[in-house]
Symmetry: C2
Subunit: 110 residues, 2 copies
DNA sequence: GAGATAGTCAACCCTTTGGTTGAGTATCGA
DNA sequence: TCGATACTCAACCAAAGGGTTGACTATCTC
């Protein structure tokens, strides 16, 4: 399994912000321009551009030019890193919860 | 499915910090006192106590008194919230990746 | 009871973050 | 070619984050 330690922190910090999570979720439906992403958000275009920059540095999003627009897309490489991490954590939580279940069952049996 | 929106942001912010992720991972092995958690970390006890406070407010950790010590444990309620969220995201990433796979396959077929 | 131990709390400090505005660039449409 | 559109960039600012220290409380040990 590949380790993504070098980027893990950047990904976590990128996803810590609600606005950026919103952007990621919206990009999961369709690729969108910076302006489209900014439209429903109550902040300047520059602010949105900065948010996208952070997602880009974390490897979650890529931006390409199309005329005078910039089209944003979810980045498969970043997605893989996030998926691997989340799966690791799901396993981790599940094993904890299983252990808790067993512990509770033992209590009941007494 | 239960929604954890009210706590989601706190959980994300709590897990955005590497020190706190470290604490959570260590607590997954065993419950530990604040002092034990602080021991390998290069910072004051007060700082560690603050980190634990943030994890506590996010619902990920509980602290109880045992003599003059405070014992920290992973909180099942918080764990469930995180697990549900991560599972939702794993599904989300997987569907994206499946879509990408299909798109790439179609390209190959041409 | 006296001192050591374990931790919390509040005040403070510096850095980072998340926003703003204003100016600049590239592209589109007339 | 000229003006609007779609951004980006740099400078700036206020608030939040992550750490410190010093004083305090509670408990253990002698």
């Amino acid at each position: 399994m590949v380790e993504y330690n070098e980027s893990k922190d950047a990904i976590f910090r990128a996803l810590a912000d609600g606005t950026r999570r919103d952007i990621v979720e919206r990009l999961s439906a369709n690729e969108q321009t910076v302006g489209m992403l900014a439209e429903p958000l109550d902040m300047s275009l520059a602010a949105v551009s900065k948010h996208i920059g952070i997602l880009e540095e974390a490897g979650l999003v890529t931006r390409r030019k199309r005329g005078r627009e910039r089209v944003c897309t979810l980045d498969p490489a970043g997605l893989l890193a996030v998926r691997d991490w989340t799966e690791r954590y799901v396993e981790f939580w599940n094993s904890r919860l299983d252990a808790l279940d067993r512990a509770l069952k033992e209590d009941d049996d007494e």
